[in-house]
Amino acid sequence: MMHSGAESIRGRFGPQAPVRPIVANLLLALGARTDLPIEQLDELGLAVDLVLAGRAAGEVAVELWAGDDELAVSISPVTHEWPVRHRLVLESLVSEIETAGGEVLLRARR
């Protein structure tokens, strides 16, 4: 999945790494560079938490992009059935969700 953004951060986390608080802090830091209302940042954070709970075994890669009016987070690998199973909730929390090959892209757009 390609995404063009002004700033991005990419990280890889081992199975024991505290990925959720780290990603939440990165999301807030990058979110501050956007014009997104904090309610949208909060809900993107909820969606990221939910997707991370369905990550596959082993390392997980997380990438965040920030533009003026949007913030996107990519997470992989995620078990195939997880985003399908929770798509309804995820779609309620973010502006757009894409899934392909074990990768989930969540996008909050103003």
Binding site: P21, A24, N25, L28, A29, G31, A32, T34, D35, L36, P37, I38, E39, Q40, L41, D42, E43, G45, L46, D49, L50, L52, A53, G54, W82, R85, H86, L88, V89, S92
Partner: protein
């Protein structure tokens, strides 16, 4: 003569920014706030609780509609309790938050509530910085506490706040399949979840509807979603 005015009238005038009404309202509701603070006695200094509770009362004036027939005291109580709970949570957190940071958090939270009431949406981080005049780092620190804090236990919320009948909910639960998320939740949490994911209301809209702060709604949603996240290990 504010002292003789009905409380609802004072609240309406306070919402318009009339200082004498705010002062009279604070004086009028001080006993109620003190009584509510008594619930948390021993966990946090009473003065801090009462100060937080009064902040909640003053926030409540913005959304109060006397035409709905609810007494202002009843309407404002959940706001007062919500602010007190925030103080209790901070004081019982494993990581002690310095008073200066707590003051900044309150300043940021108040700015968010005022901005949201005025503009009908929550502000961006940049807007909070402009609105408060604080450094971005301070704002981010406060937001970190706000957005990343642990969910508030549902049992700490007043049941009567969330127990009211709501005709949209049954329809929402029928319209979409929320069974998985709603299963096992208490009725009050079901209501919040159904309003968010079923009816499609924003956190801000839900907060106004059920008489909680947007922060509380966010925490309740976080708690509900934590149930789904817990499935992965089962």
């Amino acid at each position: 003569m504010p002292g003789g005015e009905p409380t609802a009238v004072l609240a309406v005038r306070a919402a318009r920014g009339e200082a004498d009404a705010r002062e009279a309202l604070v004086e009028r509701l001080a006993p109620m706030v003190a009584a509510l603070a008594h619930r948390f006695a021993g966990r946090v200094p009473a003065a801090d609780l009462e100060q937080a509770g009064m902040l909640g009362v003053l926030k409540a004036v913005n959304g109060f509609d006397p035409n709905l027939g609810t007494a202002f005291e009843a309407y404002a109580s959940p706001f007062a309790v919500g602010e007190m709970l925030a103080v209790v949570r901070q004081s019982t957190s494993p990581v002690r938050v310095p008073r200066a940071v707590r003051d900044i958090e309150r300043q940021v939270n108040a700015a968010i509530d005022d901005f949201t009431a005025a503009r009908g949406r929550t502000p961006s981080v940049r807007e909070i910085v402009t609105f408060t005049g604080l450094d971005e780092e301070d704002v981010l620190e406060a937001l970190r506490a706000r957005l990343l804090s642990r969910p508030v236990p549902v049992t700490e919320l007043s049941e009567d706040v969330l127990a009211a009948e709501d005709g949209d909910l049954a329809a929402a639960e029928r319209r979409i399949d929320l069974d998985e998320l709603l299963a096992g939740l208490e009725p009050r949490s079901r209501r919040i979840v159904a309003l968010r994911f079923g009816v499609g209301l924003s956190q801000r809209e839900i907060a106004a509807r059920v008489g909680l702060s947007q922060m509380h709604v966010s925490r309740l949603l976080r708690q509900a979603l934590a149930r789904l996240q817990g499935e992965v290990g089962q």
